[in-house]
């Protein structure tokens, strides 16, 4: 078990570095969409929520599972959709003049 947690810590630390490398130098124009988009990605805990909601271990787990699924789905669906809505408003060239 100690080996597993160690690998997890490795994965976590390396992924943080990947995150820093990938995301540095974001133009300010994209700060809000980046935040709402990454926010949607943090809804990945939906994976855990689905397992709880589906394991059929009793009422308490059903309730916790369903609330978690609702919360995570809201986060995921709302986050990706609103990011898309914002990004479609961004355009480069002016058609005035």
């Amino acid at each position: 078990m100690t080996g597993t947690i160690l690998i997890s810590v490795y994965v976590f630390v390396l992924a943080m570095f990947v995150g820093f490398e990938v995301i540095t130098k974001v133009p300010p124009t994209l700060h809000t969409p980046l935040m709402s988009g990454s926010n949607a990605i943090s809804g990945i805990s939906i994976v855990g929520a689905l397992v709880i909601a589906g394991m059929g271990q009793g009422t308490i787990f059903d309730i916790i599972g369903m609330v978690a699924v609702i919360a995570a789905t809201l986060n995921v669906v709302g986050g990706f959709m609103v990011t898309d809505r914002m990004l479609q408003m961004f355009r480069r060239d002016t058609d005035t003049n």
Binding site: M1, S8, V11, F12, A15, M16, F17, V18, G19, V26, P27, T29, L30, H31, T32, P33, L34, M35, S36, G37, N39, I41, S42, G43, I44, S45, I46, V47, G48, L50, V51, A53, G54, M55, G58, I60, F61, D62, G65, M66, V67, A68, V69, A71, T73, L74, N75, V76, V77, G78, G79, M81, V82, T83, R85, M86, L87, M89, F90, R92
Partner: protein
């Protein structure tokens, strides 16, 4: 490893790759929309893989939860006003934190109620559960408070009371002590003697962690909201990572770490834009020092101000060569961004060169003003950052400051005693002329007076920004 578990794990890997590629593309304007879609596909893949690969025994809660979440989330995303974006992102952050915390809670109860199938809780699992609970609960309640502040349900002012930090520290240490106790105690509980008590202590831990989230956000004032929203964004990622440690699931660990990193980067950018350390934002008492003392003694009044009308401003703008627009949150509050764009289009058709200069902390979350201007159809290549314009600002004929205050306060450059000192500003006071559109002489978010308003080359145009811009536009059309 069973084949379908193997497939699930590989699908998670593909999801993680899609998230990384998606985030990479999200940080470039031309590819951002595709990047977001890529990340969404990654998420869909992870969900399908889980439903196929895990032993799902009951479907009704899953289907019900997915349906409710999709309908409500979709509805919110479709109809939220762009001005309300910060509170909605804050709310979504909170839901993400709640989901992660609940994953940890379910895992705790599986052990404590003896349905986990093992007679012993491994220490690392136990620690992960405690961390997941703490981060998830703090993110949840903290985000709700941030949402309340941004929505105007909770006061936007910094709520402070004596010994605040001391009490927070005590609460935090208490939480750590309970967590340590539960890590040590849970294995005994499984043996069967005292499950109920252990569960009650665990629920109390949830309550205390949520209280901590509230207390951490409540002392932070409206001006600092961009930092808090970024930080909570980072927390929601870390909460997902913690849930990944709980479930021993690399997809969660990786995705959470990516979000944690991106939130931290944005937090750092915001702090830099205000020239403050993160500790200062969280613990500092910004704007509490009376700003008036800075303005060399006497209290300024309307008599010291160069008060102008719309036609004066129209004349100035229409015959200028170079105009710089400084939009602030007040512009969005007045819903004047569409009118402003109309005015700028008209000026450009007269041969005036118009630049919008957006300060990184304009608005209530990072990049908020850019979104609001994009909504008003301002192309993003017309938006500039302060450092693009400041070097040549002395050659600018007219700066139009709409609903911005602290980001154009010269005290940030000149007054070492000011709370704003060191914050990068847009140096409109150095331009040939500056027009400030404001409702009144009231100080900005930071609660500090602004010397700019009393300068010789500054004109003040009082009134509602949308009305004023509309009147300027009418006047310009007649010139």
């Amino acid at each position: 490893m069973e084949t379908r578990v193997l497939i699930m794990q590989l699908a998670y890997l593909v999801s993680a790759v899609l998230f990384i590629t998606g985030l990479k593309r999200l940080s470039h304007p031309d590819t951002a929309r595709g990047g977001n879609r890529l990340a969404a596909i990654g998420m869909l893949l992870a969900i399908v893989a889980t439903l196929v690969g895990e032993q799902i025994l009951t479907w009704q809660w899953i289907i019900g939860g997915l349906l409710i979440g999709t309908v409500v989330g979709g509805f919110m995303a479709r109809f939220v006003k762009m001005t309300a974006m910060p509170q909605m992102v804050g709310l979504f952050n909170g839901f993400g934190g709640l989901a992660s915390g609940l994953v940890a809670a379910a895992e705790f109860l599986r052990y404590s109620m003896g349905v986990a199938g093992t007679a012993e809780v491994p220490v690392d699992a136990s620690i992960s559960i405690m961390l997941g609970t703490l981060i998830g609960a703090v993110t949840f309640s903290g985000s709700l408070v941030a949402f309340g502040k941004l929505q105007g349900i909770v006061t936007e002012k910094a709520v402070r009371y004596p010994a605040q930090q001391f009490l927070n520290a005590v609460l935090f240490l208490g939480i750590l002590a309970v967590m340590a106790y539960l890590v040590v105690m849970t294995p005994d509980a499984i043996v069967g003697s005292d499950t109920g008590t252990v569960n009650i202590i665990y629920y109390a831990l949830w309550g205390a962690a949520m209280l901590l989230g509230v207390l951490l956000v409540i002392p932070i004032g409206g001006a600092d909201m961009p930092v808090v929203v970024s930080l909570l964004n980072s927390y929601s990622g870390l909460a997902a990572s913690a849930a990944g440690f709980v479930l021993n699931n690399n997809a969660l660990i990786i995705s959470g770490a990516l979000v944690g990193a991106s939130g931290l980067i944005l937090t750092r950018i915001m702090c830099k834009a205000m020239n403050r350390s993160l500790a200062n934002v969280i613990f500092g008492s910004f704007g509490q020092v009376a700003g008036k003392e800075l303005v060399k003694g006497e209290k300024r009044t309307m008599a010291d101000v160069n008060d102008v009308q719309a036609d004066d401003v129209a004349m100035l703008l229409a015959y200028a060569k170079q105009v710089v627009i400084v939009p602030g949150y007040g512009l969005a509050v007045a819903q004047a961004q569409h009118k402003l764009r109309e005015l700028c289009d008209n000026l450009e058709s007269r041969g005036v060169n118009v630049k919008y200069v957006v300060h990184p902390v304009a608005g209530r979350m990072p990049g908020h003003m850019n979104v609001l201007l994009a909504e008003a159809n301002v192309p993003y290549n017309q938006l500039y950052e302060p450092e693009d314009v400041n070097p040549d600002i002395a050659n600018v004929d007219a700066c139009l400051v709409v609903g911005a205050n602290d980001v154009v306060n010269p005290a940030a450059r000149d007054e070492p005693a000011s709370d704003l000192y060191g914050m990068p500003i847009i140096e409109v006071d150095r331009a040939k002329h500056t027009v400030v559109m404001k409702r009144s002489l009231n100080p900005g978010f930071a609660g500090l007076d602004n010397e700019l308003f009393y300068l010789r080359n500054t004109m003040m145009l009082f009134g509602d920004a949308a009305d004023s811009i509309g009147r300027i536009l009418e006047e310009v059309k007649q010139l």
